[in-house]
């Protein structure tokens, strides 16, 4: 499985790269517009290791941000899934905040939280939590009457129980969404770094962008891809284990 993930990623990456090179050579573009294979290769040799460190750094933040996002989305979905005023208010707030581009909100975040790890995590979480939230709200607001009926009529329903039932019935979907959102966590972290940090692969990308250095960007994308695939795989693996255990018991 892991092995398949990785070689599929290689295929995708190579396809993309070949496409770019094909574009370059059919139009006879200079190395400045699209770098030559040798250029990319030498950049790779030089930067693969330092960039790997940066990607790992980024991954670390992404993992924490991902966890925060999951909790955040769960809490918002639980409150926002309620049919009352507060619920719709929270949902409204959560949706609205999402509509604001992070670049516009970033200055406010920096004013309020400084520009340390907190802000980076916050930005990551803000970007990552929304796809989760959407699915969570979808799941949490759809009743499972055949299971919930008993609790409703016997007065044993707590605020938590319907949520538990609905989440449990949709474990497969939840796992898909949670592990899938790993990629959003990664991209969120990179954007946070792009905006604010002086470390991590997002920061490297920004420099490469200013220097119009597509080779470096390509190397960075390669590493991001591998790293994300690994993280994704790890989560899906865990998800599968959880599901198996739930079925067995």
């Amino acid at each position: 499985m892991l092995h398949r993930r990785i070689y599929q990623f290689f295929i995708i990456y190579c396809l993309g790269l070949s496409g770019l090179f094909a574009f370059k050579y059919t139009l006879g573009l200079s190395d400045y517009v699209i770098p030559s294979p040798t250029d990319v290769w030498s950049t790779a040799q030089e930067y693969l290791f330092p960039f790997s460190m940066d990607v790992l750094d980024t991954l670390g933040v992404a993992v924490v941000g991902h966890m925060i996002s999951i909790c955040l989305a769960a809490v918002v979905a639980v409150i926002g899934g309620k049919a009352n005023w507060i619920g719709s208010f929270i949902k409204m707030a959560a949706y609205n905040i999402q509509a604001y581009p992070i670049v516009a909100v970033a200055p406010i975040i920096f004013i309020l939280f400084g520009d340390g790890l907190t802000s980076r995590l916050l930005i990551t979480a803000m970007i990552c939590y929304f796809p989760l939230l959407l699915s969570f709200i979808g799941i949490v607001s759809q009743p499972v009457p055949d299971i919930e009926h008993f609790y409703d009529v016997t007065g044993q329903t707590t605020w938590w129980l319907p949520l538990k039932v609905r989440m449990f019935e949709n474990t497969g979907k939840l796992i898909t969404v949670i592990s899938g959102s790993a990629t959003v966590a990664m991209v969120g972290t990179i954007i946070a770094e792009f905006i604010a940090a002086d470390a991590g692969i997002g920061y490297r990308i920004r420099i490469a962008l200013y220097q119009s250095d597509l080779s470096k960007i390509l190397v960075a994308l390669f590493l991001i891809g591998i790293c994300t695939s690994l993280y994704l795989f790890a989560l899906e693996f865990m998800g599968k284990k959880i599901q198996q255990r739930m079925d067995v018991q």
Partner: protein, 245 residues
């Protein structure tokens, strides 16, 4: 023994009962008329049946009585029967714990001993550690009914709750219920006329809305494990049920 409306005296009003007064109900979306100005009184404790052809409105009636359907016309008047529970055979138990754990979680401490007895009589002992999804259909039926029996209720409506259970087990279960809850009202929905005639006190026969009265009562044999009904009495009751419906 067929009566259009079960007669009751003024004094009866102070005993536990459920009065349906001028009930009319129509499914909004399909415009299916199910009840038209129906009156009925379910009287006193006992194991009663709701009987009638498929699609006639038994489930609808049960849900009206239980208060789960609200958009009907007419009045449901309850006396001494505030806690009405409705259970149906499609219900599922959450799959996150075993039957045993689930039963303990939903029943008060006072019902522990009693719970164990039910589990035994219901034949669920061998699957007490299984999850709901690992049960056969009849086991699922029984598991669902079990947890309702350890709740507080005055009236329990069982909508085909034992439809997928074999007859021997079913008899054990019904007799146990009758013995354990002599002071409660049960409304047992079933398509098995033999069973209904044999075990039930009153058989509430529901008929098509164009027939008046729409609900009739036939008295059943109300077998409670002591004297076996003789074949003829049973057949007579069954005939009455058939004629009524």
């Amino acid at each position: 023994m067929v009566t259009d409306l079960k007669p009751y005296s003024e004094a009866d009003n102070y005993k536990m009962h459920i009065d349906l007064k001028g009930i009319s109900f129509r499914h909004e979306k399909t415009d299916t008329l199910v009840f038209q100005n129906t009156d009925y009184r379910i009287q006193g404790p006992g194991f009663n049946a709701i009987f009638g052809p498929s699609g006639v409105g038994k489930t609808t009636l049960a849900r009206i009585i239980a208060g789960e359907t609200r958009n009907f016309n007419g009045l449901v008047d309850k006396m001494g029967t505030t806690r009405i529970l409705y259970t149906y055979n499609m219900e599922r138990l959450p799959n996150w714990s075993s039957l045993g754990e689930h039963f303990s979680a939903v029943s008060g401490a006072s019902k522990k001993a009693y719970l164990e007895e039910i589990i035994d009589i219901f034949g669920l002992g061998s699957v007490i550690n299984a999850r709901f999804s690992q049960l056969s259909l009849g086991q699922q039926n029984r598991a669902n009914l079990t947890r309702y029996l350890v709740q507080d209720f005055d009236v329990l409506i069982m909508d085909e709750s034992l439809a997928n259970v074999d007859e021997a087990t079913k008899q054990r279960i019904i007799l146990k219920i009758k013995q354990a809850f002599p002071e409660k009202i049960f409304l047992y929905i079933s398509h098995n006329v033999v069973e209904v005639a044999r075990f039930c006190k009153d058989i509430i026969v529901v008929r098509r809305p164009n027939r008046q009265p729409q609900v009739k009562t036939v008295s059943g044999f109300d077998f409670s494990g002591k004297e076996e009904p003789d074949q003829q009495t049973l057949e007579h009751i069954m005939l009455e049920i058939m004629n009524a419906s």
